[in-house]
Each structure stands twice: as C-alpha cells, then as structure tokens.
C-alpha cells in the first residue's frame, strides 16, 4: 500500500509501497528514523487514516469498505491506542480515563466496568491512584494509565506510537515490560514504533522503515546488531 500527503501543491509520498502482515499475539516493533513513515503506517493500521492505494484489512475487514462511523466502531472495539504524549483527558480522574472507552462501548454495566477498570489499574500498578487526576501523576504513571485505557476493552490489537519517547529510559523500559507482559498474558497483539534500540529488543520482530519503504524484517537480536553496526 502507499500513502501520499499533499502539502500545498506538492505531493509528499509518506509510504511508497508497504506490504506486511501481522499475526495475532505478535509483539512487533517498527523502527526507523523520523520521517521514515512509522506514524503513517500506524495510522493506516489503526484506521485513523486511509491508504492512498492498496488495502488495509484489520481483523479480516477491508477498511476501505467501511464508513467513517464503522471505522470508529472498529477502533473502539478492536484496537487500543497508546500515544507518545499519553493523551489523557485532563479533567477526568485516572479511573474515569480508563473507563472512558467502556462507556463509549456501552456493553458493560456499572459494576462490570468497575471491576474491569480496577483489574487493569491493578495490572499497571495504579490501583491506589484511581481517583487522581492525570496532572497529579508522573510521566510514567500517565503512560501506564494510557496502557490500561488501551487494554480495558480487551482489543485484539494495540498500537503504540513512540510510547517511550517522552519518558526517561528506565521508565520507558518499565512500560515496554508492562506491554510485553500483557502481550504474553492476554495474547494481545502489539505494534509499536520506536527509534530506541533498547526498546526494540523486546519485540518478536522488528520492521525497519526508511523513506516510506520497509528495509527489512528482522528478529529482535538481528535488529540489535544492525543498529549497533550503524547501518539502517
């Protein structure tokens, strides 16, 4: 698939033909320098953007054939998002932030929601902070809330765009550990982008992107070596 952006009169190709497949339960890292098309790729997979050419199919559905409403529905029920800058709703408490997607889903009653939210907060280690506001938390804690929010709906796929970029390396490590743990425990598929070699280390596979193309698909250790040798 390809994706072009139009900047003024200039057409900027962000993705120049990417073909890939992700299997359930995988823990995949997309690596590459800024401008290589990592975010664009995640946006296409996450159904927040549409490909210029080619097909994106998520959970067996061709996203081209879906309406805006249906795409939103798809995002709500099958995809979880973790953002670089956490993107919590600042006026809501930790609990309410995590509960938010469940409320949108309208599938669970109050008690069920409570149970699910508390369970996830437990998992990310923030059960004691349920009533706090995001601005009362550290960056790492916020990102853990975001992880809990992404997973609370039990999505098949979680997308994380540079989840550690705004965190110090130790905290970032914790977040990745947490994601990995959930991946293994719940079998949730994770795709995350990063340019941090240490973070890639945890992935089952690393796709290296450059100039809108996939350079190669490596295992984590291969990628590590490639990084260390200084080549892309």
């Amino acid at each position: 698939m390809t994706k072009d952006y139009t900047l003024g009169k200039v057409v900027v190709p962000a993705l120049r033909g990417v073909d890939l497949q992700v299997h359930p339960g995988e823990f995949i890292s997309i690596a590459g320098p800024s401008g290589s098309g990592k975010t664009t790729l995640l946006n296409l997979i996450g159904c927040v953007d549409t490909a210029t050419t080619g097909v994106v199919s998520v959970a067996g559905q061709d996203t081209k054939l879906l309406s805006e409403r249906q795409l939103t529905h798809l995002r709500l029920h099958t995809i979880g998002f973790i953002f670089q800058s956490f993107n919590l709703v600042s006026v809501l408490t930790v609990f309410q932030n995590v509960e938010f997607p469940l409320l949108l889903q309208r599938k669970l009653d109050k008690a069920q929601r409570r149970e699910r939210v508390m369970q996830l907060l437990e998992q990310v280690g923030l059960a004691n902070h349920a009533k706090h506001r995001p601005n009362e938390l550290s960056g790492g804690q916020r990102q853990r809330v975001a992880v809990a929010r992404a997973l609370v709906t039990r999505p098949q796929l979680v997308l994380a765009d540079e989840p550690t970029a705004n965190l110090d390396s130790v905290t970032g490590q914790h977040i990745i550990d947490l994601m990995k743990e959930l991946n293994q425990k719940e079998g949730t598929t994770f795709i995350f982008s990063t340019h941090d070699a240490k973070v890639m280390n945890h992935a089952n596979a690393v796709w290296r992107l450059a100039d809108g193309k996939i350079l190669d698909r490596l295992s984590a250790s291969e990628a590590q070596r490639a990084m260390a040798s200084g080549s892309h």
């Binding site: 946006n43 529905h73 809501l92």
Partner: protein, 703 residues
C-alpha cells in the same frame, strides 16, 4: 446509556470551571439573564400597574364607541385636542346588547370633552357679590345684617381701587405713558373720588355697572381655564371604578346634575396661587427631599410668592386687611404698617423657616382668604363649542372633589373632571329629554314634521322637500335656534339643577363611549371579540377596543419601553452570541488533541457534538440560573421596598407613589429560554468544527 450521559456531564462540568474562556462566557450569560429577569419583571410590573391605573380610572377593561367615528378613541386626549368621535345616539339601545355577555360586569356610559371656564377676576367676583346683596335688598328690604355686608363689600371694592391706583402709579414709573389709556386713568380717578362713593347709594346698580365695565377689565387676572371633563352616569361610575373616592364635599346626589372636580385639577388650577406654591414647596421638601437653597424651581416659587402678592391683597377687605397686618406683625415681630411689604417678608421663606411659615400661613392668613377660586357648592359656568359649532353654556353645581386612590398626584389621572350626563349632553349639543319635549311642543305648535338627521339634507333640500324656511325645519337646527334664543337661559335655570333624573332618562340618550368592566379580565381578548360580534349581530355600528387602545398614546408607553428593552436585550445577546461563538471556537481549538484522542479511541462524532453542546448548555444553565437567582433576589428586595416614583408623571405608570414590582414565572422562563437558545445557537458552529477534528490530531506530538 446513563453512564454515557454521565460522562458527557462529567467532562462538561469539569471543563466549566477550568477554562477561563468559559468563565467569560458564563459572565455574559449571567448578566444577560440578570438583565432579562430584572428588566422584564420591572416592565411587566409597570405594565400591570399602568393597566390598573388606566382600567381603574376611566377606561375599564374595554371601551365601546361608534364605528362611524373619524378618530380613534383617546381617553387621555391626543395630539391636537379631543378625538373626533361620532356619538352613540342612544346608550339604552346598546346597553342590553353588551350587558348580555356573561363576562360583562358593568357598563358605564361616558363622553369626554374639553371646554373653557371663565372665572371672573377678584374685582368681578366682589362686584357680583355686592350686586347680589343690592338685589336682595331691592327684593326684601334692608336689614342691619345686610347693611353691614354691603358696607364691608363696598370698602373692599374701594380698597381694591386704591391698590389699582397705586399699582398704576408704580407701573407708570416703569412703562411709558401709553401703557394705560387716559380713559382708564380717568375711570380709576373717578372710582377713587369721595363723591363717587357718596353718590353710590343713590343708584347702586348704575354705580356697579360703571365699576364692572370700566374698572374690573383693567385687572387681567381673571383667566380662561381649559377643563377636561367626562360626562357619565356618576352613580355607575362610582360603583365601577372603586379607586374613585370623594375627597372634599359630597358626591353628586343620585340622578341630579352636578360635577365633581378632580382634586388634582382643583389644587393645581383653582387654588390660590400663593397657597399652591407653598404646597408645592412643602411637597418637594417632604417627599422629594429637596432644599430651597439648592433647587432653582423652588427658589422661583419663593420669588413669585414674594412678588405676586396682589392676589392676596385684592381678596382682603379693609377689616381683613387690618387683621392680616396685625397677625403678620406679630408673627414677624415687625412694625411695618404696609400689608404688601409684610406679605413679601413673610413669604420670603428659606429652608430654616419654611415649616413654621407654612403652618402660620394656613393658621393665620388662610382663614381670611378664599383659598380656591371656586368654592364647593358654587356653580360653574362651562362654555363649550357644541358639535354643530355654536357656543353652549351650562351652569353646573360643583359638589366636591374626587381622586383615584394611589393616583392623587398624577396629572394624567387628575386631568379629568366628572360631570353628569345631562349637562354633558347639553354641552355637547345633543338633545336631552327636556329639550326634546320642548321641541316636540314647538313642533306641535308649528306643525313641522320631524326629519331624521341622516336624511335631513334630502328632506330639506331635495326636490320634493317644499321647504323654504330651513332654520325651523329640523330638530337639530331648531335646537340651534333655541340655543341662541334663550336655551342658554333655560339651561342656567336653577330648577334644572334640582331636578332628579330617572335612570332611564340618564341612559336614553347620547353618549360618546361606554366603559366595560369585566368579571374575568383574563378573558379580555375573547370577550372583546364576542362583544364585537354581538354588536354586529344586533346591527349596532360599534367599535370595541381594549383599554390599551382606548388610552391612546399612554397605552402604548409601556409597549414602547418594552420594545426598547427587548431591543437592548437583543443587541446584548447578539454581541454575546458573537463572543460566545468566538470563545467556543478558541476552546475547541485548544482541545483539538483531546477531541482527536477521543475520536481515535472510538468516540463517534455525535459524542463530540453532544459533549460541546452539553457543555454550553450546562454553562448557560449554571450561569443563567445564577443570573436568574440574583435577579430574583433583586426583584424580591425591590418588591418589598418598592421603587419610589421620583416625579409626579410616574405616579400614573406606577399606579401609586411606589411601584412594588413582582417577578412572574413568565419572566424567569423567558430569560431561561433566551439564554438557552442563545448559548445553543452560538455553539453550533464550534460544535460542528469539533466534530470535524480528525483522530489524526491525537497522534501529533507537542513539538
């Protein structure tokens, strides 16, 4: 579902107090609501107060008048005099038709008109009294009491002539020689001479005539006065308008001719000017808390009181003059022998001595004076132009004065004097039963057939009329002839004043309009329409109008004020709309990432729309409620304390000296609806923009 809405509310409510922009919007909504609540309630209260004034004074709930009228009915007058109304020929014909309606409580026949009254000047009045005494003497012979009265009045007249001479000498010093004609001077000189007064008794009537014709006209103070009056069934009027109360004197006896002057009119125009000015100063001081030292109008009154003492001097005969001098000397502790100087000193009032002087004036001087130009019980000659253009004079006895409770000081409510219908019809130039009988007699004698007014022209000037003598041929014209040939005398006869008319006599005849009082005023519009219909069905050409229309310009006043307020509110809210719109745009732009995140994690556009709308609605409700609450508080405070009517003109609109405004549910609802509509409308575009925020925005980093 419930959780969903709760989420919306939570986000909205939290946002409410965290954003400065929201506080700005909230402030606008707060003051907008406050304005609508307070302004609306004030105007509504004023409207209902004024309607009580109008309904309770002369209008009633509805007014009925002839559909053939050229002008609209204007009970409080209109620009350029009285409206031109066609007469309703026979009130007794329309009464049963209208009274049949179940919602009609009472019906009061009415006609308003204006006329001139002349009260002779002080010299005239004194001479007239003297003439009466001489007449009495000529009829019944002289008694010691009569002699004493005659001498007293004679010396009063001599004193007045002396004053006139003095004044003449003074004005000659100021004005040129031509200010007075030689004839005038000669007349004064003669009236001053001993020989004139020595010879007075020889032919008193001749001497009186000289004084009346040559001396009295030299005094300019007897003036013509315009008087507005309503001819009505006085008993029905009193029953219907329960705010009416007789202040001085007594009501006009049932069925008799007579007049009740408005207390306001009586005070304002018929009271001795010096006394009136003292009253006004007192009122300004007591009610409006003004001081003579600072108020130019009050200073002018004091000045006028000091300089315009002639009115007082003329009233006093030599005995009373002596008494007045003695009393004033005592009060002032002065040796000044001249009354004019004493009065001027006495009336030089300031803030320190006013209250004492005021009391002294009424205690010491007033008993010596006629305080009013017309005494209750006297007859007043009213001269009016009739419909057909000739001048008609009617003598009406003044029984008393009346006022409408709460409207004592209103010039509008006080402009109308009340008169019996019979006198009104005489003045208006229509036939009363008395005159009809007289004419019928004349017709029988002369064998002239009656011609209806409508086809008079045809009958008189048509080919087969055969008439050559127009003047005697129609009742209307005979009436006119009668007026010239002695009807005037007959109308001035005293026996008419004593006659008691039956209710049917009062009702069978011309009126200009009728006031309708309703049992249930809420059904005014419906009753109005039904009365129109039943009048039409009965073949009566009548116009039925609400009190508001009947009151003319006055009735429109509050409507105008309302329009102004609503226009102001409209402008404020248009401005608010623009500001809120802009502010919401900014707020939306600030929250693009938040909205993008919500969209990315699965919120539909409708959710975003709902979120923004709920937020503004909540904003409107919270701050609107605050404004309404504060507004209600203000109204409650005003309602118990009352708003004083600062000037007399407001008494009418406040229906009393203070307006006690009330807040109706309608005011609150109106304010709320306006606020909600304005805040919703102003949010539509920002809300729409918010729904267009792409989930991609969530991915953008802070850099």
């Amino acid at each position: 579902m419930g959780g969903h809405f709760r989420l919306l509310m939570q986000v909205a409510f939290r946002n409410l107090f965290t954003s400065k922009i929201n506080l700005l919007i909230g402030g606008i909504i707060f003051f907008g609501t406050l304005l609508v609540v307070v302004g609306g309630a004030l105007l509504d209260s004023m409207d209902s107060a004024m309607s009580r004034s109008i309904i309770g004074s002369v209008a009633g709930h509805l007014q009925v008048y002839s559909d053939e009228s050229k002008d609209e009915l204007g009970l409080f007058g209109q620009m350029g005099g009285e409206p031109d109304l066609a007469a309703v020929d026979d009130f007794s014909r329309i009464k049963p038709v209208l009274e049949k309606h179940p919602n009609v409580k009472t019906l009061v026949p009415m006609g308003t008109n204006g006329a001139l009254i002349t009260s002779g000047n002080t010299v005239d009045l004194t001479l007239a009294r003297l003439r009466d005494l001489y007449k009495k003497r000529a009829e019944g012979g002289e008694t010691p009491g009569l002699r004493e009265n005659i001498d007293s009045l004679k010396s009063h007249v001599r004193q007045m002539v002396a004053l006139m001479e003095e004044e003449m000498a003074r004005s000659q010093a100021l004005l040129s020689e031509t200010a007075r004609t030689p004839e005038e001077k000669e007349a004064i000189a003669r009236a001053r001479s001993e020989e004139f007064w020595n010879g007075f008794e020889a032919d008193p009537f001749d001497s009186l005539e000289f004084l009346e014709n040559r001396i009295a006209p030299q005094i300019p103070d007897g003036d013509m006065l315009y008087i507005r009056y309503a001819g009505t069934d006085l008993d029905a009027f009193q029953r219907t308008f329960d705010r009416m109360e007789v202040v001085d004197g007594q009501p006009v006896p049932s069925g008799q001719r007579g007049m009740l002057l408005s207390k306001f009119f009586y005070e304002e125009y018929l009271k001795l000017k010096t006394a009136r000015r003292l009253d006004l100063i007192k009122q300004e001081r007591d009610v409006n808390k003004k001081t003579i030292a600072t108020d130019p109008q009050m200073q002018r009154w004091v000045k006028e009181n000091q300089t315009q003492t002639r009115e007082l001097l003329f009233q006093l005969d030599p005995i009373k003059t002596r008494l007045a001098v003695e009393r004033l000397q005592k009060v002032l502790g002065s040796q000044e022998p001249k009354l004019e100087k004493l009065l001027s000193d006495f009336l030089a009032t300031d803030d320190a001595n006013f209250d004492t002087r005021y009391a002294q004036f009424y205690a010491e001087l007033a008993p010596l004076l006629e305080l009013y130009r017309i005494r209750l019980g006297d007859s007043l000659t009213i001269t009016a132009f009739t419909r057909s253009g000739y001048v008609q004079s009617v003598n009406v006895k003044i029984y008393g004065t009346y006022q409408f409770k709460g409207l004592e000081k209103s010039a509008l409510a006080g402009a109308l004097n009340l008169m019996d219908l019979m006198s009104f019809r005489d003045l208006y130039g229509y036939l009363t039963a008395d005159k009809k009988a007289e004419i019928a007699d004349l017709q029988k004698q002369s064998g002239v057939k009656a011609v209806a007014r409508e086809n008079a022209e045809d009958a008189l000037f048509g080919e087969d009329s055969g008439n050559s003598l127009v003047a005697e041929a129609t009742p209307g014209l005979i009436n006119e002839q009668e007026a010239f040939n002695g009807a005037m005398d007959s109308l001035r006869r005293d026996d008419l004043a004593k006659r008691v008319y039956s209710q049917s006599e009062i009702e069978q005849g011309v009126v200009l309009s009728a006031a309708v009082m309703l049992k249930d005023p809420e059904q005014l519009q419906q009753t109005l329409a039904e009365l129109r219909q039943s009048a039409q069905d009965a073949g009566l050409k009548l116009r039925v109008v609400s009190w508001q229309q009947a009151a003319g310009i006055i009735g429109q006043f509050v409507l105008m004020a309302k329009l102004v307020l609503y226009f102001a509110v409209f402008i404020i809210f248009v401005v608010a709309l623009v500001i809120i719109n802009n502010a919401m745009m900014m707020a939306t732009l600030q929250r693009v990432r938040e909205v993008g995140t919500m969209r990315a994690i699965g919120a539909q556009r409708s959710f975003v729309l709902g979120m923004v709308l709920v937020e503004t609605l909540l904003l409107g409700l919270v701050f609107g409620a605050g404004g309404a609450l504060v507004g209600s508080g203000i109204m409650a405070a005003l309602g118990s304390a009352g708003i004083p009517a600062g000037n007399e003109a407001l008494y009418f609109f406040f229906s009393g000296p203070r307006l006690y405004p009330t807040l109706s549910a309608g005011n609150l609802i109106a304010a709320f609806v306006i606020v909600l509509v304005v805040s919703s409308i102003s949010t539509l575009y920002p809300a729409f923009l918010a729904t267009r925020v792409s989930p991609l925005k969530a991915m953008q980093t802070d850099e």
